[in-house]
């Protein structure tokens, strides 16, 4: 029987922690929570390749570590290539009998900068070569570790330190790069979006992605109180609003088949989401209308794909 975490989640989630206490993530960090849940879903038989970024810096200051599973960090831009080597290495060593046969999940962890900007070439290459690995992108929509600089995953209208709102600028003037769709366009067996505000859905997807043969991609919405300028007790609520407004829909693409995981009959207005965060505070109504139109359009496109390519 296939495990279904959504239905039986409460009984199936392990109480074991693979990401130890004592890490240095900011108070109220959505990414830390999502990472903890992802690790629970992955379990013990895993090797994690981590790109430079918040996760790496907050969990591995020599001489201590938060990791209770094997973990490697090399550089910022190459985590998909490093995990390619881990996967290819394990596979051939097992085939040659140099390492005992075992189902070890190869998992890459990176932020949105490491994924949508500097790491996209390595990621695309690893997808195309069909390595058996899971890539987790923790998207907090800017270079938070270096101090809130814009990335190509920063949403339109957000103020960051390198695309600040000013007299002549609304901040970010481009629409967020759609990495889940770019991943799905590689025709990999599994691509999905997830959010720590929907913990069982997140764990279910991480597990699915790890179990599937071939490349899998899960794009995880990661509210960042420090960079988004919201209260530290709001990460979960903001994550829910992102889904309920259609800004960050939860869906999965399994072998080309689309499925919407949280389908609401009526979306909330984007304004409800935008007003929770200081990074959007400067936006005038006309910009909010523009964002609403864009979200409506993108959501309609996604719905059309779901109708067209239903699972």
């Amino acid at each position: 029987m296939k495990e279904n975490l959504i239905q039986f989640g409460k009984n199936l989630v392990t109480t074991e922690e693979f990401l130890a206490e004592g890490h240095t993530f900011c108070t109220g960090c959505g990414e830390a929570l999502a990472l903890r849940l992802a690790c629970k879903a992955l379990g013990r038989n895993v090797i994690i390749s981590n790109a430079t970024g918040c996760t790496e810096v907050c969990t591995s200051p020599l001489p201590v570590t938060s990791w209770r599973v094997p973990w490697i960090h090399t550089l910022f831009e190459n985590t998909a290539a490093t995990v390619s080597g881990i996967e290819a290495g394990l596979k051939i060593l097992m085939k040659k009998g140099k390492t005992p046969e075992k189902d070890i999940k190869c998992v890459a962890v990176a932020g949105d900068g490491g994924t949508t900007d500097i790491g996209i070439q390595a990621l695309s290459g690893a997808f195309e070569r069909n390595h058996d690995f899971l890539y987790l992108c923790f998207d907090n929509e800017a270079y938070m570790n270096t101090g809130i600089q814009r990335s190509s995953a920063t949403p339109y209208g957000a103020s960051t330190t390198t695309a600040p709102a000013g007299k002549l600028s609304i901040g970010q003037t481009t629409w967020k790069k759609n990495l889940p769709e770019i991943a799905a366009a590689h025709n990999i067996p599994y691509a999905a979006t997830a959010s720590p505000s929907y913990p069982f859905d997140l764990m279910n997807k991480v597990k699915k992605g790890a179990d599937v043969k071939g490349p899998a991609y899960v794009h995880i919405f990661s509210p960042c109180p420090t960079g988004w300028r919201h209260a530290t007790d709001l990460a979960i609520e903001i994550g829910r609003l992102a889904v309920e407004t259609g800004i960050f829909p939860l869906y999965e693409v399994e072998n080309g088949r689309y499925k919407l995981n949280v389908d609401r009959p009526k979306l909330k207005p984007v304004k409800e989401y935008l007003r929770t965060q200081g990074r959007f505070r400067h936006l005038l109504d006309e910009e909010i209308i523009r964002i609403q139109e864009h979200v409506d359009e993108e959501y309609a496109k996604l719905k059309a794909k779901i109708t067209c390519f239903a699972s």
């Binding site: 020599l62 973990w71 490697i72 960090h73 090399t74 550089l75 490093t82 996967e87």
Partner: protein, 398 residues
């Protein structure tokens, strides 16, 4: 059973990789390295070599994939050249600092711009300080021998460092020469099975590549420096063991007819063989000359070099790379520094040529030696001189 056959240097290196029973090859094609990965891909496709061939999308990913594979305990190989080596530069430091014994062939190539697919040592010199053990080859036989040797030394439990085997693009990579291939049983005798002591394993969770705050970074880097310096003993032991099994002996610094010679020429790589013929001719004429082939580039063989130049009056260094705005060829400044403070050490002269595939004939080396002797007598205000380069400026003042 060994056999003597005609082999291109690139294919000789590929044969060594096969006989080393490598586990993972990750490579990206770049001229003039291509014949190496092509041959390896063919071996894997035909089942001659049981390895994973990962056709990565860039050199940056080639080295990153090697790093990942080595971290789970796989014997790992890649090859690149010139701009490809530059593109993976960042990852070279990772392999050495994380003590992952990747072996890499560098088919030495010039750096753009202007684009040149042909050979020189600009690529090798730019990765001098990346923490890799580095050797240069003179011919196809050495391309085979040094590749095999590289696995033996890099994987030694007392070393655990990556090794770069340099051989000249086109001048060597595309040259077919007689090569003695040993039997598999001899290779197995020389090269033990790879057992990486720090392999990533869920049964023994380990954190690899943690970040270092200022109170740890310095200690980590000095430990790395101690490790590569210490590796020289194993480098030499590896040469000796290689000689005992295969009958070909190599040394960090290889003098050729230097006994009693007043003037010495120092070269690296395939040009050393051309220079040897010039030394032979000049010796026959009764000139007091000799040659030094510098094989080991890192860790630098200070003591061996000092011994080799003892008694010489002039040491002419031939570089295939310019250190722009610097003190001359990179090898010459290295050697000046190595000999600084030596009582009765030779005067060191710097010559630069053979850039971007420009051939250096025997005549050119004759000129270098003659001109060197002339400078030794009359003196010169130039920091270095160029060889065979058109235009008025042949020397550069400091």
């Amino acid at each position: 059973m060994s056999e003597r056959i005609g082999l291109e240097a690139s294919h000789a290196a590929a044969e060594a990789v096969k006989m080393a029973d490598v586990d993972v090859i990750a490579a990206y094609p770049i001229t003039p390295q291509t014949h190496i990965p092509e041959r390896l891909a063919e071996m894997v496709a035909d089942g001659e070599l049981n390895a994973a061939y990962v056709p990565v999308e860039s050199e940056h990913s080639a080295m990153s994939t090697c790093v990942g594979a080595a971290a789970v305990g796989a014997r790992t190989f890649t090859a690149t050249a010139g701009p490809g080596l530059e593109y993976m530069h960042n990852v070279l430091y990772i392999a050495s600092a994380m003590r992952l014994p990747v072996v890499m062939t560098v088919a030495n190539r010039a750096l753009s711009a202007p684009l040149s697919i042909w050979g020189d040592h600009s690529d090798a010199m730019s990765v001098r300080d990346t923490g890799w053990i580095q050797v240069f080859c003179q011919n196809s036989q050495e391309a085979f021998d040094m590749t095999l040797w590289a696995f033996r030394v890099g994987e030694d439990p007392g070393v655990l460092l990556p090794v770069m085997v340099h051989f000249d693009g086109f001048h060597l990579t595309h040259v077919t020469e007689p090569v003695i291939l040993p039997g598999q049983e001899e290779v197995d005798k020389f090269l033990p099975k790879f057992r990486y002591p720090f392999a990533l394993d869920p049964d023994k969770p380990m954190t690899l590549g943690a970040f270092a705050p200022p109170d740890i970074y310095s200690e980590a880097k000095v430990a790395q420096e101690v490790a590569i310096r210490k590796s020289k003993a194993v480098v030499i032991q590896g040469f000796r063991e290689f000689g005992e099994i295969f009958g070909r002996y190599y040394y960090p610094v290889e003098p050729y007819k230097t006994e009693g010679a007043k003037t010495l020429l120092l070269t690296m790589g395939s040009f050393s063989e051309t220079a040897k013929t010039v030394i032979d001719t000049k010796k026959d004429r009764g000139e007091s000359v000799g040659l030094i082939n510098l094989r080991l580039w890192r860790p630098f063989p200070f003591e061996e070099l000092r011994q080799a130049v003892k008694g010489a009056e002039t040491l002419i260094i031939f570089d295939r790379c310019i250190s722009f705005g610097g003190p001359g060829g990179p090898v010459s400044s290295e050697i000046r520094s190595a000999l600084y403070g030596e009582k009765e050490g030779p005067e060191v002269l710097s010559f630069i040529g053979g850039l971007g595939g420009r051939d250096m004939s025997a005549k050119d080396f004759e000129y270098v030696i003659d001109r060197g002797c002339e400078i030794a007598q009359k003196g010169s205000a130039e920091l270095f001189e160029t060889v065979g380069i058109r235009g008025e400026v042949t020397g550069i003042r400091g």
